[in-house]
């Protein structure tokens, strides 16, 4: 990845002498069989996979340790890696980097092919990438959710087993890994990419090619991590702890490479978002006028860009252990299994906040709209997010309280961990302050935001229990911690994602989501989320460790309660998917231009949003969220319809 301008910089067409008719169509725009799209990506991906597999075997099958084990991780790794490269080449992501070698710069930024097929191509339009991400993360989430159903089915009975322990542990590991990967992108990907430029009044992303690349890497990562199952799965859970990682079979390669690939996508996505937010804010949008959602994406982007490289390196070292037999994590050969734990959690804890901050952002963004009043303590909310982001780099060893390293550091990490609840508390101050004497509209997005505050409170308070070392002795590694992070990630982030979808889908698609079905979805999801996970706190306290296929028989009642609730929780997602299909295709209802009467910039432009977002660059006049204020100036000035020096502002 190199930095260069990724965009058209021509001052104007007539001056630089590129008449319309000589413009070359790029490969991603050509019609029919000549074009590059999802199909070519699949074909190239498969070809890449086969070549990589052959090459790996050619390189390494002569080594005795490979011949003796009958397991060639080099072939697996190269197959998957070449498959990813083939996938990216097939979709057209590598055309430009290749063309750059011949001095081509980002001038000919492609406008999307304007028909349905644009959603299956390498598109540089951030709105299309956003919609592609919506489908991508929903696919990810659906896969992970099905695996969760399988886990709860197995746990219905402590003695009668649906799956063998072998299959069960693969399911658990795959569920955790897929969900964690999905959750890092679930808001930054779809809603961040779609709405950040709209909310800051930008007509484009800073690096649209990097943005598109991040999406196609994300999809490649999905396939790589999924390839673990045909490879025989991996037994380590999403944390991939080392001696087990070293011991595991070829599925482990998919885990390590999958995290490295997804990590690359995360870095690129965060990179693009951070640069866009810093540089492309419309005139007048000072840092005290940036919408809270944008603040949260900026804080998340900081974590994505700085924490994820550590995961990438950790995964690379793991792959080297697997392929060329280095010993980074092998104690017997001079490595250390603690090294993985440190690298993993140095990434892993900021990762947790990558999955929390965008949810706070959505909550802060939606509350004023549905409370019809200004956001309370705007600056505190921004400070809270930045504070969480900063502190999250200094807490990773609280995952290792019982691991036997650095006992003398425990008070320190207990302190830093508990300090994080101060900036997190800011978010509650902002939320509760904004509810104060509001006129609350109980629309669907608002219900999800309120549920987030309810759920995250339980998640956050139990986090304090976990950070207390004496209590941690009992709750570490059990269902208590499992329930805790489901409360924060699912109860926080996923509810925020749903709030965001119900809120912004009318803008993205021009169609309203059905309110009645939506309410059924909300109440099922909210009630049965709590009924699923709250018993798990008790299960954990009563001594059930994580990732077990069997448990003490006296816990069967609670486990069954939790399982049955989980099935209904799973059903609530089917209701959501039904609502999606129903409202978008079966019985679409045209959305008003601004259904929630929001003052946000994203609602001020046309629906569907034109590829250039705004006809003129808006000028921001005042603070955001000045609801219910008589005589407050409009948030943005869009200028006169016809600028003086551009006589025709729409050209054919």
């Amino acid at each position: 990845m190199t930095i260069s301008d990724e965009r058209s910089t021509e001052v104007s067409g007539p001056v630089s002498g590129h008449p319309h008719n000589t413009r070359k169509l790029s490969w991603t725009q050509r019609p029919g069989l000549l074009s590059q799209n999802l199909l070519t990506a699949i074909v190239f991906g498969v070809i890449g996979y086969l070549i990589g597999h052959w090459f790996g075997n050619y390189l390494a099958s002569g080594y005795s340790y490979i011949a003796n084990s009958g397991q060639n991780s080099i072939a697996n790794t190269l197959a998957l890696a070449f498959g990813v490269v083939g996938w990216l080449g097939g979709i057209g992501a590598l055309n430009y980097p290749f063309a750059k070698l011949f001095g081509v710069d980002g001038l000919e930024e492609e406008s999307p092919v304007d028909n349905w097929s644009k959603y299956f191509r390498y598109s540089l339009d951030h709105k299309i990438v956003g919609l592609q991400y919506v489908v991508g993360v929903l696919l990810f989430m659906f896969t992970g959710g099905l695996l969760a159903m399988a886990i709860r089915t197995e746990l219905l009975n402590p003695t009668t087993h649906i799956f063998s322990p072998d299959v069960y542990i693969k399911i658990v590991s795959e569920h955790g890994t897929i969900m964690m990967m999905m959750a890092t992108s679930i808001i930054v990907g779809p809603l961040g990419n779609y709405f950040v430029p709209l909310m800051i009044g930008a007509r484009r992303m800073a690096f649209p090619r990097i943005e598109a690349l991040s999406f196609w890497i994300f999809t490649a990562g999905y396939m790589v991590i999924f390839s673990a199952l045909p490879y025989g799965g991996f037994p380590t859970g999403w944390t991939g702890y080392a001696p087990l990682q070293t011991q595991a079979g070829p599925g482990m390669v998919s885990y390590l490479l999958g995290f490295a690939v997804i990590g690359l996508g995360m870095i690129l996505a965060g990179f693009n978002q951070a640069v866009t937010i810093i540089n492309y804010r419309a005139p007048g949008m000072t840092w005290s006028r940036v919408p809270v959602f944008v603040w949260s994406i900026l804080a998340t982007a900081a974590l994505l860009t700085l924490a994820t490289p550590v995961l990438f390196a950790g995964g690379l070292f793991g792959l080297l252990d697997k392929t060329v037999q280095t010993a980074f994590y092998v104690d017997e050969h001079g490595g250390s299994s603690y090294l993985w734990q440190n690298l993993f959690w140095f990434f892993g804890h900021p990762e947790v906040y990558i999955m929390a901050l965008p949810g706070f952002g959505i909550a802060g963004e939606l509350l004023p709209v549905f409370c019809r009043r200004p956001l309370f303590a705007y600056k505190v909310s921004a400070a809270g997010m930045i504070g969480v982001a900063l502190l999250s780099f200094f807490v990773w060893q609280h995952h290792l309280f019982q691991s036997g390293i650095n006992p003398d550091m425990r008070p320190l990490f207990m302190l830093t961990t508990e300090l994080i609840s101060i900036p997190t508390g800011f978010i509650y101050l902002v939320g509760m302050g904004t509810l104060y004497r509001a006129k609350i509209r109980f629309e669907l997005p608002m219900l999800f935001v309120l549920a987030l505050f309810f759920n995250f409170l339980i998640g956050g308070v139990t986090g304090v229990f976990l950070s207390d070392v004496p209590v941690n002795v009992t709750v570490h590694g059990g269902f208590f911690v499992l329930s805790h992070f489901h409360y924060t990630i699912m109860g926080g982030l996923l509810f925020a994602f749903m709030a965001g979808l119900y809120y912004w889908l009318p803008k993205m698609t021009g169609k309203m989501m059905n309110k009645k079905i939506g309410k059924v979805h909300f109440w099922l999801m909210f009630v049965f989320f709590n009924l699923t996970f709250f018993p798990m706190f008790i299960i954990g306290l009563l001594g059930q460790p994580r990732r077990v296929f069997t448990y003490a028989t006296n816990l069967q009642g609670l486990n069954d309660f939790s399982s049955i609730s989980a099935f209904i929780l799973g059903f609530s997602f089917l209701v959501f998917f039904f609502n999606l299909v129903y409202s978008m295709w079966i019985k679409p209802e045209v959305a008003p231009a601004n259904p929630w009467e929001s003052l946000g910039l994203e609602w001020q432009t046309a629906t569907p949003v034109p590829s250039y977002n705004f006809e003129r660059i808006p000028v921001i006049m005042t603070e955001p969220y000045r609801y219910s204020e008589e005589g407050a100036p409009a948030f943005a000035d869009f200028g006169p319809k016809d600028a003086p020096d551009s006589p025709t502002h729409t050209m054919a």
């Binding site: 990845m1 190199t2 930095i3 260069s4 301008d5 965009r7 058209s8 910089t9 021509e10 001052v11 104007s12 067409g13 007539p14 630089s16 413009r23 070698l101 011949f102 001095g103 710069d105 406008s111 930008a202 007509r203 800073a206 690096f207 990179f271 951070a274 640069v275 866009t276 810093i278 540089n279 492309y280 860009t305 700085l306 924490a307 490289p309 990438f312 390196a313 070292f317 252990d321 060329v324 037999q325 280095t326 980074f328 092998v330 104690d331 050969h333 001079g334 490595g335 250390s336 440190n342 034109p610 250039y612 003129r616 660059i617 600028a643 020096d645 551009s646 025709t648 502002h649 054919a652």
Partner: protein
Amino acid sequence: MSNSAIQSGQPSLSNEEREYEMRALISSIWTGGRLFIGIYTFMLASLVFSYFYLRSSDTGLLWRPDHVTAPRAFGFLIFGLSLVTGLLAYVGRKRLVMGSFQDFSVAAWSGVVTGLIALLLQIIELSHLSFYPGSSGYASTFIGFAVMNIVSLVISAYWLETTVARGMRIRREVEGENPEFSSNPRARAFRADVAAMSYFQVFLTLAGALLFAMFYLM
């Protein structure tokens, strides 16, 4: 932006608005270059952390039995060549700022060549090691270092090559324009790119010096 020529149906902007977006573009390149250094620092820092972690824990007294060291001759050569690459990128940019595209071009192409030779040597070095990858902690981290160095050298050469090729194309295509002075947007973006590139090359050289010292001298 340029819009009308390139994206049909897009409204034109006033000159003031175009300049606003142009500046956003230039500062994006600046910010992006710095942020990329941040990303890269954290990746290299993971290696440095691993090195010192394994070194200090010395599991099973197997950090570095007999003080094995990768072939020093290769090390000096590779580091020397990447030092030259970094210097050439730095000097090339200085010359470009002073108005000599010719000098920049020569420096950059030489930098590409030295970078590629370093890359080749780094790969060859891997077949001349006196230890197995998993024989010690040092050996493992050295392999990690070699792989990251290969990545660094590829990025370094690619970025140098693409900027200089781009500059040459601008000279060719935008008639009567010198990329070193022109106010043509393509030339302005090109200069910003060169600045970010040389900054990154200097960073790589400094980081490379630290890693070189860690793996070959310490």
